[in-house]
Amino acid sequence: MKQIFFILFFNFLYFGVAQESEPRISISIQNTALVTVIEEIEEKTDFHFYFIDQWLQGIKVTGDFRDTPVTEVIEKLLTNTEINFYVMDGSKVILTKNTLITDRLPENYFSKQEVVPENDENNITSGKNKVPQSLVVYQIKETNRARMITIGKEKPNDINATYNLRGTITGAEDGKPVSDLVLMVEGTGKGTTTDENGAYQLKLTKGPNIILTKGLGFKDTKTTVVIYSDGEYNLQLDESIESLDEVVVRSDYNKNVEDAHTGVITLDVENIKNIPLILGEEDIFKAALFMPGISTAGEGSAGYNVRGGKTDQNLILFDEGVIYNPAHFFGIFSAINPFSIGKATIYKGNIPVEYGGRLSSVFDIRSKKGNMKQISGEGSIGPVTGNLLLELPVVQDKSSIMVGGRATYSNWILRSLDDDRLKNSEASFFDLIGKFDQVINENNSIEATGYFSHDAYSVTRDSIYDYSNLMASLIWNHQFNTQNSLAVTLSHSGYGFGIAYDGLANNDFNLEYKNNESSLKIKMKSLLNEQHTLDYGLISKLYTIYPGKINPEGIDSEITALTIPKEKGLESALFLSDSYKFNDDLLFELGIRYSLYAALGPSTQRTYPDDAPKNSGTQTGMINYDNNEVIKTNGGPEVMASARYFLGEDFSVKASYNNTIQYIHTLSSNTTASPIDTWKLSDLNIEPQRSSQYSLGLYRNLDAGLYEISLEGYYKKQKNLLDYKVGAQLLLNEAIETEVLQGDGKAYGIELMLKKNEGKLNGWLAYSYSRSLIRLAGDFDEEIVNGGEYFATNYDKPHDLSIVANYKFTRRFSASANFVYQTGRPVTFPVGKYTYNNAEYVVYSDRNAYRIPDYYRLDLSFNMEGTHKIEKLAHSFWSFSIYNALGRNNPYSVFFVTEDGNIKAYQSSIFSIPVPTITYNFKF
């Protein structure tokens, strides 16, 4: 209840501020230059003016104002000039010459576009694809006043036909680099897009070229570049006024069709805030689950299954550093601060060769660059967590710091409950992120990121569990010249958990587990020519795992201190890939990665004969290895090959092959991932996992990118997947190999995606039919499961349908809905029961022969943006959501227990009732 009052209070406060009238000014002007007057207004108020100096040259104004609203002052001053103005976001005044900017489209704007398609200037072509008319931004005449710059001097005997132009594009307002901005050379079909640092390179023909830029949320520009030598042209872009309208300019609208990679998902970080998620937590991982091919075993399970892969087969990178368990609260929330994320790309196969070491996917998450112009921030207040992220410029346009923190206050809720059992439960978590960006000079920049997350929970009074992720990374970007660039990354990651037990008897203990990895990556990029772009480099990773340590706690404890010796391994790889444009229609992405893994000492490895199962009885001996002595090496080439062919405009077919090797594995005897799963390196007895995947897909954009359709199929074979003997004990076990089975995996599926990117109603529908199978057919009885036949994995959910829809009523109000349907996951079901030791027990036979009932869920949310009034504290966003609006009691698992000697069957579910939430987000 307190909570609600708090939120309401905020609400009133906010409206109180917003309704204050706009600022007033007293000013007396006598035939003064307009520029001077503007400077004075800027000084006295928060208003900022944007204009080109030439426009105002020679304009003098006169006027006397007493306590007059600023906009009125501006209006009066400009009455007799050729200058128009427009006020944006309350305090940004945009001056234009002869051009009136409105926030409404002229009538018949769209139909006009269709009638007059042959307007030369707007008819830009890029590759095979015409830039659709509806993307042309609303401009009046302004395009004719293109800027012109000259680079170099015309030399009489110049034999070069082309020159390179490069540069960086930043936003005029915040100075942040603009990525994914399209630059096109008018009339040639040539073009490029800016990378994440806003950098671009273009090959221009000698002489004049007209360069057009188009980007999401920015005003289009048109510049005539007369080029006579290699050179640089940096551009600052004004925010587009169109961003306030329903016409959204998209920069990468055709990326899905053009790109040669299959199975790539780029998550639109801005848009996910509209998706209703559990307890109002904005979460890109949860949003990813609405995409085809990505699923979890259930609501309360950490870890993701990508295209039928295991949860340990995902490389989750945050600013190039690995996050081992990005989950809070058993996976109900993900552990990366959503406000810090700039970009998230998921590779479900066809993984770029610069990444490796995991079989199924790469989650490449990049934090955003901090604001280098002014202090800004974002925050949210929800029922479970509070979150605040601040961006602080250190040196204007040079460096910035971003700090963010999120913490739960659920303990407070738990303690106020009446239920005694819950009163004694605890669950808390927090995560912190810090980032430093520094632009050293035009060729060098540095990003440093630090991340920490911590969870603690206890259920019974006698034990406390906790786990943490730690990550630090440092990236140095260097530009040698227009063709060559370098990125050097140093990173360190760690994961660990602990169990503290304090019971009644003499066995109180503290148990700890942790693993670390340190890595160095050097990546070069070379634009050889128009056809070839190379990426190459090397990566080396040192793993250390401390598999477990137990210590007695308290003087009465008789627990023997025990430490399982640490494991060490070095994984290194060389990689080379070429983006090869064969012709306008055919594009290849070819890459090879050669990885080499060495398990290193100090270690003691057990040996077993080949013709007997591995167990304590068959062990033949032990081999001791000195520090850094190589125990065993594994490795091999990993190939990534894909091709894209245009079947028509906005229509392509892609095919790909990819094989991967994984040297580090999780140990879990549970059916779903848990925070106390440990990691294990390949060694003398545990083989690396291997996978190869073939995929084929069709991609089509309709209506100028308004609709995206894709259909992808894949087939994946895996080897040496880890599984466990029945009743395996994995924690604090030195001889893990005696509990482990290694088997083959097989997964295949077809994924359909229909997406509407814009409009009042937007969203997507994702459907996949997929299977994920495993075969455990060892040579010995104890290594055979289900008779050595393929059977469904614990996360095999053939039908998976997600629908995400968002409807905008007005600019401020929108409603969203998600619907999810999935086949129930497989469970092992008893084949009978028996009486033993005075009690009934069930007997299990074949694994995963039964499925729990199907899963479906509907979530709804209603979102309200703050007003666009002048002078307010912050831009705000309210979201009211209902998770599981149908109240469907989706079973998470079905299990059988012996209670008082009798068998009882139960189903458990995580969110069995509708969960309403109200969340307040703000941005300043």
Binding site: F330, R421, L511, N670, T672, G727, G832, K833, V843, Y892
Partner: protein, 399 residues
Amino acid sequence: MTQRLLKYRIYRKVTMIALFGILGCVKPFPTETLDFEDMMVVEATITNEEKTQQIFLSRTYPLEIDSIIPESGAAIQITGGEQIYTFSESSPGVYISDQEFGAQPETEYQLQITKNGNTYHSNNVRLPQVTRIDGLKAESIVDENGEAMAIFVDSYDPTGNSRNYRYEYVETFRIVAPYYREKDLIVPNENSCGVELVNDEWSVKECFMTDYSNTIIQYSTSNLTDDNVERFMVRRIAKDNFIIAHRYSILVRQFVQTNEAFAYYEALHTFSGQESVFSGSQPGFLQGNITSDTNPDEKIVGYFDISSVSKKRIFFNYNDFFNGNSSSSYTENCDSYAPLISEGNRCFLSELINFNAIRYLEDNKNYTPGLDGPYRVVPRICGDCSVVGEVETPDFWIE
């Protein structure tokens, strides 16, 4: 040393976590056996006690059935130390040794079963270390579930060879019929509806009940410096449980198990315990140490276990630990009522008496002829504990 790791079953205690408690739920799931598999079940624990040893054979049965299906007509023998011990079926599925014997140290034993021409045998099993229970204590405790009695075991093996302990218990306790009266009603004349209040010479006020442990209770000291079981709680009885309402006795049997047997029982216990909501262990067929010679693919449920056993018994009364008297009773539904003698030509009260369904409680002070009867009565179980308990005082019982 043993490859088997240390046991931290504690982490399996994660049964529910807070948020789940608010939003999630666990509810019964209607089941039926989908693909019933008929298998032989062998329950054979031979101890070092010199006695008639017992082996139980049965078959698995479908989930929706509630009766044991005994496996009759098998021939069973145990070989060990150049001896053959044969067993005979004493009642369906129960096989007892033809001679008394106890497992001896340093001897390998093997179980052999023949049934319908199929033969089965177990791995060779040795008797583990024999370790005595040093102490058995009853104490009142307060834990997160409230006030309770706890039974603690202490045991110490200076040789350090025991390590794996399993416990069973038998509890015997006195029960008292809550509405026992000195008088009861009889029907003197079978042809009439009339009843008569006489001295009650058939109902029993105080009886004894016996119950057996039906969970797997294990404790391992393999992670402790000393092979020392200290204050291990084998039994927790809530304060308001009727079994400790009067006088209570518990016999605890401590088995020392081999590593393999311990692991088998532990896995069985894990599979049958409350699952963690957020992570469930992967169940599967639990392979014991008995295999078929005839058909190697045949699955046999159960384990041939040779255990050393030590036992101890204690007694206590409710008021040794708690103030006042316990109000808990073995029966709850003791609402009294006053049945009509008859209605029309149908007898009511006498019929209930003839069915031995009721006991006299008191005279009906507000007797209204035609509306109710002259005597208030209670269900028989409320006035006569022999419905559920034994009348005879057990031989071991000490007041």
